[in-house]
C-alpha cells in the first residue's frame, strides 16, 4: 500500500512538470525572450501570475521553459548513459571473470573518480559552455552507473538453468544477452533511469548555476537561481520559485523511482508483503 502511494504521488508530481514543459513547446503566457524594463520586478498579478524578474520577463513562462531545458538535458544524458552503459554492462557480465570484464569495470571506476561537475568543467574549458556540453558531461557521468547496475543484475541470471539451456541450443553470448538477460533486468534499468533522471535535473541546475549549462537567452532553473542571488533580500521569490521547482521535481522523481523499484523488484515485493 505504502509503496503504491509513493509511486502515485511521485508520478503525479513528475507528470505535472512534464506537462508544463510539453505545454511550453507550443504556448507560454509571455514570450521569454522579450524584455520589458517597464514591467520589471512586479509582484504576482493577473497579467503575470508569478510576477516578473529584473528584466521584466514573466517568471511562470521562464519556469515552464526552464523545466523543458532541465528535462531535455536530463533525458538526453540518460540516453547517453544507458545507451553506452547498458551494452557495456551486458558485455562485462557475459565475460565475467575474464579480461574484458576487468577492462570495462576498471574503465568505469576511472570515470567514477571524476564528479560530473569536474567533467563538465573539463569539457567547457575545451569546447565552451553550452546545453549540449552539459548533456555530454552528465551523460558521461551516467555511463558507469548504468554499466554497474546492468552487470550486477545480469550476473546472477547468467548462472540460471535457462541460460545453460540456451547455450546447449548453441546460442552466442550476444544473443543470450539480448534475448534472455536484457528483458529480465529491464526493470532494474528503468528504476535506475528514474533515479538518474532526478540526479540529471540536479546536475543540470548546478552546471547552469555556475554558468556551464544552457546559455542565455535559453532559460534554465539553475541560472534563474544564480541571477536571483543578488536580490535575495529584496525579492526572495525570484530565488524561491526556481528552487522550489528543482526540489519538487527531484522529490517527485525520487519518490516515483522508489515506488517503481518496490513495485517491479519481486525480491523487495516479497519483503513488503
Amino acid at each position: 500500500m505504502k509503496t503504491q502511494r509513493s509511486l502515485f504521488i511521485g508520478g503525479a508530481i513528475s507528470l505535472v512538470f512534464l506537462m508544463l514543459a510539453a505545454l511550453s513547446l507550443f504556448w507560454v503566457p509571455h514570450e521569454v525572450t522579450s524584455l520589458s524594463i517597464a514591467a520589471r520586478l512586479q509582484g504576482p498579478s493577473t497579467t503575470y501570475l508569478l510576477g516578473t524578474d529584473q528584466f521584466g520577463r514573466d517568471i511562470l513562462s521562464l519556469l515552464m521553459v526552464g523545466a523543458q531545458t532541465s528535462i531535455a538535458v536530463a533525458v538526453a544524458a540518460i540516453g547517453i548513459g544507458a545507451g553506452i552503459g547498458v551494452p557495456l554492462g551486458l558485455l562485462a557480465a557475459a565475460h565475467h571473470g575474464r579480461i574484458g570484464d576487468e577492462v570495462i569495470m576498471r574503465g568505469n571506476d576511472l570515470i567514477f573518480a571524476f564528479p560530473a561537475l569536474v567533467i563538465a568543467i573539463l569539457i567547457t574549458a575545451t569546447y565552451g559552455p553550452s546545453a549540449f556540453n552539459a548533456i555530454l558531461a552528465i551523460g558521461i557521468f551516467n555511463i558507469p552507473v548504468f554499466a554497474r547496475v546492468t552487470r550486477a543484475g545480469a550476473l546472477p541470471i547468467w548462472t540460471l538453468d535457462y541460460i545453460m539451456a540456451a547455450k546447449v541450443a548453441g546460442k552466442s553470448k550476444f544473443r543470450i544477452s539480448l534475448e534472455h538477460i536484457l528483458p529480465n533486468i529491464l526493470n532494474l534499468i528503468i528504476v535506475q533511469a528514474t533515479i538518474q533522471f532526478s540526479l540529471g535535473i540536479l546536475a543540470e541546475a548546478a552546471l547552469s548555476y555556475v554558468g556551464l549549462g544552457a546559455q542565455p537567452p535559453t532559460p534554465s532553473w539553475g541560472r534563474m537561481l544564480a541571477e536571483a542571488q543578488t536580490m535575495i533580500y529584496s525579492h526572495p521569490m525570484l530565488a524561491v520559485l526556481p528552487g522550489a521547482c528543482i526540489m519538487a521535481l527531484v522529490l517527485g522523481l525520487n519518490l516515483a523511482g522508489d515506488g517503481l523499484r518496490d513495485h517491479l523488484d519481486p525480491r523487495l515485493r516479497q519483503v513488503v508483503k
Partner: protein
C-alpha cells in the same frame, strides 16, 4: 511409556483467508520419542511447525490448542511470553543451514547467543565455554569457535545449527527437512547425530520431511499429512508394513520404485567418451593463487541407443562437469567425446548440438519467466533452419508427447506446477529429436507421487523414441528404477561401473559400498533390530 506428553496438538485447525491449511490436527510428542510428519509439498507440514512455534503468518486464524507441558495453550500466549519459550523449550532446525546461520557471526558466538538470550549463562565467557562443550557434542570438536559459517562444509554447518538449537537444552526439537539439502553420506551422519541426541537428552522430536525413507530409519511414530489433514498416524512399523489409508499406500509405493528389469541392449553406440580430462586453470584471487583444479580425470563412457546410464556420486564429484562436457559446453584438456560419429566440442555447429539435450533439476530456474511456453520449448530450434509451421507443429507434438495439451503453448511458466514444469523441460529437450537426453537430477525436486509419474513418462518416451539417457542423481532408489548400467563417480573419476542390479547388490569398490550403506531405505524393521 506412561509419561506425560511434552507437547500436544489438540484439534488444531488453521485458516488463511477462506482457505483451510490445517484441518483438525492432533499430535502428541512424548519424551525420548521421534514423531515424523510426512507429506508432499503444500500438505501443511511446515505450517504445523510454524503453529507450534507460534510463528503463523499474519492473517492466519488458528483454532484448537497447542498444549505445552507445564505452560498451557501456546495459542493463548502473547508474543513476549512466546519469545521466552521459543529456543528455550522448543527449538527448530531448518533445511538450509547456510541461511539459518548468520553469515557474519562466528559459530561459537551464535551458539552462545542462544544461551545468553535465555539467561542460561552468567556472562559471555561462561556462554562460550558451554558453546564449546555443545559443539564438541555434535562432532565439531576440531572446529574453532571463531570460524564463520562459510568456512564450514554443508554437514558441518548443519551440525553447528543443531548445536545452536540444543544448547539451551530444549524439551522439544523440530527438524524441518533438516537433511534434505545434504548428500546421502552426510545425511545419514546427521540423522545418526539427531537420533543420538534425542535418546541421550530425552527430547521429544518432531521430524518433518517429504522423504519416507529418512523417516523409516528414525521415527517411532509416523503421521501422514495430506492437504492439511492427518490421514494416518501409527507406529512406524505398522505404517511401513501395513499401511491402512490408500494415500499412505501410494506414497509408500512411489517411494520404493521397483528396480528396472534387466535388459540386454545391443544396438549401436551413440556416445563414446574416452579419457576425458577437464582441468580448471589456476586462478589468482587477490594475493592468493588457487592451484589448478582437476574436475574430470580420464573419464571414459559408452552409451548405446535406447540405454539408460545412471551417474551417481556425492556433491562435487564432477557429475555436473561431465554433463556439461558431454553437452559441448566445457573445453576439455585431453581425451575425446563423440556422439553418433561426430566430435563434441564448445564450437560445434548448432546442427551437431541437436543430438544431445538436457533436463535440469530446478523446475523454477529452468525457464525465462518472461517467455511463453511455445517460445521456451522452441528455443533449441532457433539456430536450426526450421520453417514457422513445422516449428509450431513440433511444439505441439512435444507437448502432447510429455502429456500436456497443445493449448498450454500460450501460457507462461508460472502458471504450471512443479511436475508440469518438468514436463515442459522434457518437451524442450525433445524438440530437436535428440539421440541422448542428459537428466541432471531431473526428478529430485519433485514430490514422490509426481516423481513416479514423471519417471513413467521418461520410460515410455525412451521406448517410443529409442532415446538414450544419462541419468544423474544422488537417489539410489530412483537410479535402480531407471538405469540399465550405473557409473559411480568420486573426485572427478569413475571408480566403478557395471550393470545396475549387479552394482547395487554387489559393489566392489569401498566408495560404492559406503554410498549404498548411507542411503536411507524403507526396509527398516530389520535394520532397526540390528541397532537395538
Amino acid at each position: 511409556m506412561s509419561q506425560d506428553a511434552r507437547l500436544t496438538l489438540v484439534h488444531l485447525s488453521v485458516s488463511i483467508g477462506a482457505k483451510r491449511v490445517l484441518d483438525d490436527i492432533s499430535i502428541k510428542l512424548l519424551p525420548h520419542r521421534i514423531t515424523a510428519l510426512v507429506g508432499e509439498s503444500g500438505s501443511g507440514k511446515s505450517m504445523t511447525a510454524l503453529a507450534v512455534m507460534g510463528l503463523l503468518p499474519q492473517g492466519a486464524v488458528a483454532t484448537g490448542a497447542v498444549q505445552l507441558h507445564g505452560t498451557g495453550d501456546l495459542l493463548a500466549l502473547r508474543e513476549a511470553a512466546l519469545c521466552a519459550i521459543r529456543g528455550r523449550k522448543i527449538a527448530m532446525i531448518f533445511q538450509e543451514p547456510m541461511t539459518a546461520l548468520n553469515p557474519v557471526m562466528q559459530i561459537g558466538a551464535q551458539v552462545a547467543e542462544a544461551l545468553l538470550v535465555h539467561g542460561l549463562a552468567e556472562n559471555r565467557r561462561e556462554a562460550m565455554a558451554q558453546a564449546r562443550a555443545v559443539l564438541d557434542r555434535v562432532g565439531l570438536s576440531q572446529i574453532g569457535l571463531d570460524r564463520y559459517p562459510h568456512e564450514l562444509s554443508g554437514g558441518q554447518r548443519q551440525r553447528a545449527a543443531i548445536a545452536a538449537a540444543i544448547a539451551p537444552a530444549p524439551d522439544i526439537l523440530i527438524a524441518d527437512e533438516a537433511t534434505t539439502a545434504l548428500d546421502v553420506t552426510t545425511q545419514s551422519e546427521i540423522l545418526d547425530l539427531l537420533r543420538q541426541l534425542v535418546r541421550e537428552d530425552g527430547m521429544s522430536m518432531l521430524l518433518i520431511t517429504h522423504d519416507l525413507a529418512v523417516v523409516a530409519d528414525m521415527a517411532d511414530e509416523i503421521a501422514v499429512l495430506a492437504a492439511g489433514k492427518i490421514v494416518e498416524a501409527a507406529p512406524t512399523t505398522n505404517i511401513l508394513q501395513a499401511p491402512q489409508h490408500p494415500y499412505t499406500q501410494t506414497l509408500l509405493a512411489a517411494a520404493s520404485p521397483a528396480p528396472r528389469a534387466k535388459r540386454v541392449i545391443e544396438r549401436e553406440v551413440v556416445l563414446q567418451a574416452s579419457d576425458v580430462t577437464r582441468i580448471y586453470p589456476a586462478r589468482r584471487r587477490g594475493l592468493r593463487r588457487s592451484p589448478p583444479m582437476v574436475a574430470l580425470k580420464n573419464v571414459s563412457l559408452t552409451l548405446r541407443r535406447g540405454e539408460c546410464l545412471g551417474l551417481v556420486g556425492g556433491s562435487g564429484c564432477g557429475k555436473s562437469t561431465l554433463a556439461r562436457a558431454l553437452l559441448g559446453l566445457e573445453e576439455i584438456q585431453s581425451g575425446a567425446i563423440d556422439i553418433t560419429g561426430r566430435a563434441v566440442s564448445p564450437n560445434m555447429s548448432p546442427a551437431d548440438r541437436r543430438r544431445i539435450s538436457i533436463v535440469f533439476q530446478d523446475p523454477y530456474g529452468s525457464f525465462n519467466p518472461r517467455w511463453p511456453v511455445k517460445r521456451i520449448i522452441a528455443e533449441p530450434l532457433d539456430l536450426i533452419a526450421v520453417s514457422e509451421e513445422s516449428r509450431a507443429s513440433r511444439v505441439e507434438t512435444a507437448l502432447v508427447q510429455v502429456g500436456l495439451s497443445p493449448e498450454d503453448a500460450q501460457k507462461f511458466p508460472h502458471q504450471f506446477s512443479g511436475g508440469q514444469r518438468q514436463r515442459i523441460a522434457i518437451a524442450r529437450a525433445l524438440i530437436t529429436k535428440p539421440d541422448i537426453l542428459v537428466l541432471d537430477e531431473a526428478v529430485s525436486a519433485l514430490d514422490v507421487s509426481v516423481r513416479a509419474r514423471v519417471l513413467d513418462l521418461l520410460k515410455s518416451l525412451q521406448e517410443d523414441l529409442q532415446l538414450s539417457y544419462i541419468f544423474i542423481t544422488h537417489d539410489l532408489s530412483v537410479v535402480a528404477h531407471m538405469a540399465d548400467r550405473i557409473a559411480v563417480m568420486q573426485a572427478g573419476q569413475i571408480v566403478e561401473t557395471g550393470p545396475a542390479a549387479e552394482l547395487l547388490t554387489n559393489p566392489k569398490q569401498q566408495y560404492t559400498q559406503n554410498l549404498l550403506k548411507a542411503a536411507p531405505r524403507l526396509t527398516v524393521p530389520m535394520r532397526r533390530k540390528e541397532r537395538t
